[in-house]
């Protein structure tokens, strides 16, 4: 066969949904022994083509050739795995109350005797052995899955996938939920895996892509832009290929001026996530908080906005000491909180864009207690235009928007309420790069309008690019506070977040 160099070929694959051409003639060829990166904005067609490969969608045109055999017709949700294609999803499909061994063999339990009793002891032993062999980790087979870290749970999934001995493995944004160390371990495993397999690697993180992949395919609007060798491209050129325009100035210039203190936190202590936090946020300033998973940094924002889990310390807002704070009270005095889980906690999915945007400021749009339709619509149209929310009008159900646009809706909610302190929890996680730049601009304008911004993020680049001041947390404590300068201090931040203080280095 002429094309034996490729283990998997998707040739001229097309897929049409009513009204939308999701994929047009996309060709992706995976070589044996390579890690093949797949990048594209949300909606570019990455997940569609992967769903075709998984047999969840059928393609309208094109062929899929696996190991020299045309499997286009054969592919369905049940056969994909048997054929030799495995998927590691971003969401972890784990059952928390099972043990490691039970999870690993779920559905393929080892049995003994004619009555098919589960061979528990054998499974535990085999599980431990397989985990060490396949993914190089020592875990007790009797441990509950819920007690593992996210990374370890993922390893179990990878191990599960490897048990069927696949020839192609697809990783769909595997590092989105991982701490840095865990990511590195994962990369190590992927490099081992690629020796005799093809690996497809989907990610929003270009650093990872260039580091890990041999070749990269870029999709945009359902079309393939190009497949390039990772060695030949830079992050900038990849981004340009992906969005079709330059986003060189991703972060707005820092020409903000800090004013008076708007938020002052003294000795704030959480039931279990963090203790004795002290910091201030001034008007016109963006303060970034970061840390690794489990450092408690992600609970600081909600701790200021809702005292439910706070056990000590005080919060002073606009010069006034706040006693017990509930979200409705916080919103009433001028705080706005943007949660990390934007579908579950941010935009109310089945309410319209309009209803979501005005949820916090609806009182200002009433006359004698009656909502003024005209005022509401006008305010919402203004926000849709200003924030470039991609929706035909305000009456579209928010759940139909992409993640980035939903995030804009939540931001618009607080902008309409003219909040004076914006608390943003992971404002851009999982959002594609185009919408991301828009959101950075919005955040910058928030600060410029004289509000304080507290931004919680795990993305170091974003943290450094956006913040005026940075607080790094480690195990529930603030271990480093620094002002950002022209000089790149990201290394110092990473070291601090891993528990290496500036003092005890070396």
């Amino acid at each position: 066969m002429s094309n034996s160099e490729y283990i998997l070929e998707m040739l001229d694959v097309s897929k049409e949904f009513p009204g939308v051409k999701a994929l047009s003639d996309v060709t992706i060829q995976i070589k044996k022994g390579e890690v093949h990166g797949l990048v594209g904005e949300n909606g570019a067609g990455k997940s569609t083509i992967m769903k075709i490969l998984a047999g969840l969608y059928s393609n309208d045109g094109g062929k899929i050739i696996f190991d020299g055999e045309d499997i286009t017709k054969k592919l369905n949700a049940r056969t994909a795995e048997q054929t030799g294609i495995s998927f590691i999803h971003q969401e972890r499909y784990v059952v928390p109350h099972l043990t490691v061994a039970e999870m690993l063999f779920l559905g393929v339990e080892k049995t003994k005797t004619a009555f098919k009793f589960m061979d528990r002891r054998g499974m535990v032993k085999l599980a431990e052995q397989m985990l060490e062999e396949k993914v190089g980790v020592r875990l007790s087979g009797n441990m509950l899955v819920s007690r593992l870290t996210v990374g370890e749970q993922q390893l179990i999934q990878i191990c599960r996938a490897l048990m069927s001995n696949p020839k192609v493995i697809v990783f769909d944004e595997p590092t989105a939920v991982l701490a840095k160390k865990e990511s590195e371990r994962l990369f190590h495993i992927i490099r081992q895996l690629k020796k005799d397999k093809g690996v497809i690697y989907i990610s929003h993180y270009f650093g990872e892509i260039l580091d890990l992949c041999d070749r990269v395919t870029v999709l945009r609007n359902g079309k393939k832009i190009d497949t390039v060798a990772a060695a030949d491209v830079t992050i900038d050129s990849l981004v340009t290929m992906m969005v079709g325009r330059d986003i060189l100035e991703q972060y707005p210039p820092k020409d903000r001026k800090a004013g008076e203190t708007i938020l002052s936190v003294k000795g704030l202590t959480h039931r279990k996530e963090f203790h004795d936090l002290n910091f201030e946020v001034r008007r016109g300033e963006i303060v970034g908080i970061t840390g690794l998973m489990g450092s408690g940094h992600d609970k600081v924002g909600i701790g200021i906005y809702d005292s439910h889990d706070i056990t000590g310390g005080e919060v002073e807002f606009k010069g006034k000491k706040m006693s017990y704070i509930s979200p409705d009270k916080a919103a009433a005095v001028g705080m706005g909180y943007v949660p990390d889980d934007r579908r579950g906690l941010g935009a109310i999915q089945s309410m319209t864009v309009k209803e979501n945007i005005t949820l916090a400021c609806l009182k200002d749009m009433t006359r004698h207690g009656i909502i003024s339709d005209r005022e509401e619509t006008r305010a919402v149209e203004g926000q849709i235009e200003k924030l470039r929310i991609k929706t035909p009008n305000g009456d579209v159900v928010s759940g139909n928007l992409s993640g980035g646009n939903q995030q804009k809706v939540v931001l618009a909610r607080w902008l309409s309420d003219q909040s004076e302190l914006y608390i943003l929890n992971q404002p851009t996680s999982g959002i594609d790069i185009g919408a991301r730049a828009d959101i950075y601009k919005i955040i910058d304008e928030m600060a410029k309008s004289g509000a304080g911004v507290l931004m919680i993020t795990q993305d170091i680049q974003e943290l450094y690019g956006m913040s005026d001041r940075i607080i790094v947390m480690f195990r529930g404590e603030a271990v480093l506070e620094l002002e950002t300068t022209e000089e790149d201090l990201t290394d110092q931040i990473i070291v601090a977040s891993m528990g290496g203080g500036a003092g005890d280095e070396g």
């Binding site: 409705d328 916080a330 209803e355």
Partner: protein
């Protein structure tokens, strides 16, 4: 913008429930002798005031994100308090006031158990339903009805009074004041839900409680208000009911419990996004009233009526679910 063309499928989808109601109406008009007379229609309408009141209460709770099983007990409670007070010689106005106050307290107890103690809505209202009905039995010593020898004043007019009463050429057109009362309250409820901050916040709290809270909505206050509204509306229903019967019949609310759930959910199929709403609930009540009336005129046995009614509810919901799927695919 493209010019909008008429889309038959879309039209049917948006109006399933209304069309079905019309179909039933037409069916009875043709086959049930005496159905399509002004006298009969007004009678059917007037008999639906109690169900409408209870359905309004149910609608508030459904919007807040739950189902109020205790409407049956609240209905009984309202009638019981009112009738006992009148028997004890209190003025009807004061008796009705106490009945409504009892409804408010009942709603507060429900919301306390749900919000502060943290019991699920379903189990809380199931519990208060059992307790409420047991109290009705205890007070009436095992469930013997309390008959009033006379009714007067406001208590009489709230259930029996008429606003229109025309007798002409054998036709007897009466519109009861209770129907007017229920319709006025429905209009107020619709307005509050559509046009006030509270209404919007109640929907938000019912759809995604924590997300609403984080947006600054006092979700707990909204839910409490919904249960208080439900308690009061159901107690008012109880007052109207016992006025109509000139007596208090214990544990009689069960009859309305399932009907009110039915009307609210049939009503929610009329909403574009499937939200419970007042207009739909009123339509649901009409649907049930005409069903009962028409089937009675056709001489269908009482038990079979429930089979037909249940079947039709399932038909409405099935058509709705089917079309929802079809449209989800088409508009994807």
């Amino acid at each position: 913008m493209k010019k909008k063309s008429f889309d038959m499928g879309r039209f049917l989808y948006d109006n399933t429930t209304t069309l079905l109601l019309l179909a039933i109406f037409l069916f009875f008009s043709v086959f049930a002798r005496g159905f399509l007379t002004i006298g009969n229609i007004t009678t059917a309408l007037s008999s639906s005031s109690v169900l409408l009141l209870i359905s309004l209460g149910m609608c508030f709770v459904v919007i807040s994100g739950g189902t109020d099983l205790s409407v049956a007990a609240a209905y009984g409670l309202g009638g019981m308090v009112c009738v006992l007070c009148i028997q004890a010689g209190l003025s009807p106005v004061f008796a009705i006031f106490l009945a409504l106050a009892a409804g408010a307290v009942f709603g507060l107890i429900n919301s306390f158990l749900i919000l502060k103690v943290g019991i699920s809505v379903w189990l809380t209202t199931l519990g208060t339903l059992f307790i409420g009905e047991s109290i009705e039995r205890i007070v009436t010593k095992g469930g013997t009805p309390i008959y009033l020898s006379r009714v007067s004043g406001l208590f009489e007019s709230i259930g029996q009074g008429t606003v229109v009463n025309i007798k002409q050429q054998g036709a007897n057109i009466t519109i009861k004041s209770s129907l007017l009362l229920a319709l006025v309250l429905a209009a107020i409820a619709a307005f509050v839900l559509k046009k006030t901050v509270f209404g919007r916040h109640l929907y938000a709290a019912g759809l995604q409680r924590r997300a609403a809270e984080l947006a600054g909505v006092s979700a707990k206050r909204c839910v409490t208000a919904a249960f208080v509204a439900s308690g009061m509306l159901c107690c008012l229903g109880g007052v109207v009911g016992s006025s109509q019967l000139v007596s208090y019949i214990p544990v009689n609310g069960r009859y309305y419990l399932l009907d009110s759930i039915g009307t609210v959910f049939i009503g929610s199929t009329m909403h574009k996004r499937g939200f419970a709403n007042i207009g739909g609930t009123v339509t649901g009540v009409l649907f049930f009233s005409f069903m009962t009336n028409g089937l009675n005129l056709l001489g269908v046995q009482y038990y079979w009526q429930y089979v037909i009614r249940g079947g039709l509810i399932l038909v409405v919901l099935a058509i709705n679910a089917y079309q929802r799927n079809v449209w989800a695919l088409r508009t994807k």
